[in-house]
Amino acid sequence: MSANGTITQTLREAAAQVLSEEKVGVVIGYGRDDGQEFSTPVFLRKAEEVKRLVFDDLCFGNLAVYLPRPEIRKMGKTGIVVKGCDLRAVNVLLRENVIKREDVLLIGVRCGGVGQPQLPKCSVCELHDPGGCDVVVGEAIEQQEVKAEQRYTEAGKIEAKPAEHRWEFWQKQLSKCIRCYACRQVCPLCYCKRCIIEKSTPQWVQTSPHLRGNLAWNVTRALHLTGRCVGCGECERVCPMDIPLGAINQKMAKVVDERFGFRSGFSAQEEAPFTTFSTEDSEEGIL
């Protein structure tokens, strides 16, 4: 049984309409070819192509990653299928002036969660119903209340270990990293034209996949996403080495939530925690 069973048809109609009325040059959505194990991105230019579009509980990808791409922007205004979690990434892109609201047409889907079994992030989803979209498809889903302590359980599990066990754990995990940068490339918010890892004067982060290079890379990645990451979990899904990257991002989300009462991506207007400050911020731990 799928929580997202009947959306496909209404989604196709909505996409066909915006394409035939030439409101957009392209619709980015999910499709599924024979034999594919999950739904993958499709780029539709004509209304006739909408039969390729699907929405089911294997639509993992966060399609917002394609919005800043020059080859997509060339096609004209971009229509994009967004789940609630994806919308949060779009909000950050808007907030950071990477894209303009008038250049995108948001086709929101009311998503009951993806994955078989359902991903942990979906069981604590607070945005089943994506607000502020141009078109919304799917039936209303009852929004359950999510308590603060439910949000950061993955990070919590690691926090609960003693420090030396944590280091032992991360040494083992980070040693696996092969530096394919799939985590960076799949992230909608890693849109820098040139990543710090690719800057060599000076070479801040060593590119060799040894532990110190991998630690530097993962620390840098986590910090550059602090207060920005929306917790879509794509980095962890695509990691070919199964490194629990989501837990690192969750930890930093928890830090900004607890310290600054900030949660990323719920609005396109808010100020990010590191672009602003409060004179009342904690002084704890400063000599």
């Binding site: 944590r166 530097a216 840098t220 602090t226 830090v255 400050f277 911020d281 731990g285 000599l287």
Partner: protein, 154 residues
């Protein structure tokens, strides 16, 4: 000298290496004042002058550890006194979050210090350096990074 003896004398002579990033306007001037007032402080600390504590990217800290620092200190103007109005407020957010991340990885956060020292606080600078040098001495060499430096990928 026999190896054992050498090891012993190395231990007693071992001096931590502390890298300190000091803002140009307050902490650097504070350290300067300590010197001019002839207030001594341990030479284990290596000072790097930066325009503002807000300039300190956590990469600076990580790089220092990678290159063998046993402790890193970032010091700036007291809140409200930043030469650029708000650099230290930004530093405060960024660096404290960074410290939590280090802790999450299980890296000893006592190795990373943050302080506010004004241009008038030569005495504070002197006692601060004495205090953290003693702590670094007690903690011993920072093995986490030292072993990584030797470590080869499998």
């Amino acid at each position: 000298m026999s190896e054992e003896k050498q090891n012993q004398s190395e231990k007693s002579q071992w001096q931590p290496r502390i890298v300190a990033f000091l803002c140009n306007w307050c902490s650097y001037a504070g350290a300067d004042l300590a010197g001019m007032s002839r207030r001594g402080y341990p030479a284990a600390i290596k000072v790097i002058r930066v325009p503002c504590s807000g300039k300190v990217d956590p990469m600076f800290v990580l790089k220092s550890f990678e290159r063998g620092a046993d402790m890193v200190l970032v010091s700036g103007c007291h809140p409200g006194d930043c030469h650029y109005t708000s650099g230290n407020y930004h530093a405060r957010r960024k660096l404290l979050a960074f410290r939590e991340l280090l802790d999450f990885f299980g890296i000893d956060q006592r190795r990373f210090k943050i302080s506010w020292v004004s241009a008038a606080e030569g005495a504070k600078w002197s006692s601060l350096v004495k205090e953290i040098t003693a702590e670094a001495q007690a903690l011993g060499p920072f093995k986490t990074f030292a072993t990584m430096l030797q470590g080869e990928p499998s």
